[in-house]
Symmetry: C2
Subunit: 167 residues, 2 copies
């Protein structure tokens, strides 16, 4: 980011900046998930993280597609928000010894990541529509729906077993 | 946080840690909102931030109430996630000169904060129930519903005017 240079002049500039933000975020999530898979004990939770890793790799390609549809080369910008969310997840995981309590902590961390993605894809979809880019909005909305569905799946796993096993 | 000391041994410890996390987060949000109010131009957006500042001050007290109900003194722990989300919001705001584009950026930043709170209060409510603390869960759920309602209000302001004015 070109700090204090007031580089963002239009909603289109803001849209591209946010796309760069989520592109970086998706890449960081791709790096963080294998560590979470390795740490998870519950087979269903492990499998949910594994499935989400595959989806995240797919989302990276979908964001690249939106960049190109909108005439830009895919590029990321360092974003303190996802870095902070992932750092906090790793700090927290490092503090828990019991594997069942750790599963509850990992699941909560994954939901914090999902909610960051939900808010960003929600904003991006709205801005794409406002810019008259229904094509971009369609792809972004598809990713948004998948993130929401992952969050709901994680809530079901938490409610049905992980939290009970941790208690 | 006592990094690498494996201080979190039970779901109860994890619940208290997450309560300390959100207590710190709410306090940081209380400090960040006045800056966002000062930067916002749209009167409805400014008013929504102002209302949310009042609610956030109330949430600090409600979290303190949960600490006490559960036999703990209110205490915060530094949390990289909210620090990252707020840092990103301030960086982004610093890059936008046009007041109407800035409003769209501020609104998106506020929704990222809301989603962080939604995920944390969702988790805390589930853990409180699992720990048999329906009293704590009741208060946490009340905050959760208010955060969801603020997020929806922000989406309505975005869709009805702020994004259109920015475009």
């Amino acid at each position: 980011m070109g700090l204090f240079s007031k580089d963002i002049k239009t909603l289109d500039d803001l849209f591209i900046h946010m796309l760069q933000d989520i592109y970086y975020a998706e890449q960081q999530i791709t790096k963080a998930l294998p560590k979470m898979i390795a740490k998870a004990s519950d087979p269903q939770l492990k499998q949910a993280f594994q499935t989400h890793l595959g989806e995240t790799e797919e989302h990276v390609k979908m964001v690249e597609q939106v960049f190109r549809m909108h005439g830009h080369d895919p590029k990321g910008v360092t974003c303190p928000a996802i870095d902070g969310i992932i750092e906090e997840a790793q700090d927290l995981a490092g503090e828990v010894a019991d594997p069942e309590v750790l599963d509850a902590a990992l699941l909560a961390a994954a939901q914090a990541v999902e909610h960051y993605e939900i808010t960003r894809y929600g904003t991006l979809t709205a801005w794409a529509k406002q810019l008259g880019r229904e094509d971009c909005a369609g792809v972004l909305h598809q990713v948004l729906e998948q993130e929401k569905s992952t969050d709901q799946k994680l809530s079901r796993i938490a409610d049905s077993k992980v939290n009970a096993k941790a208690a």
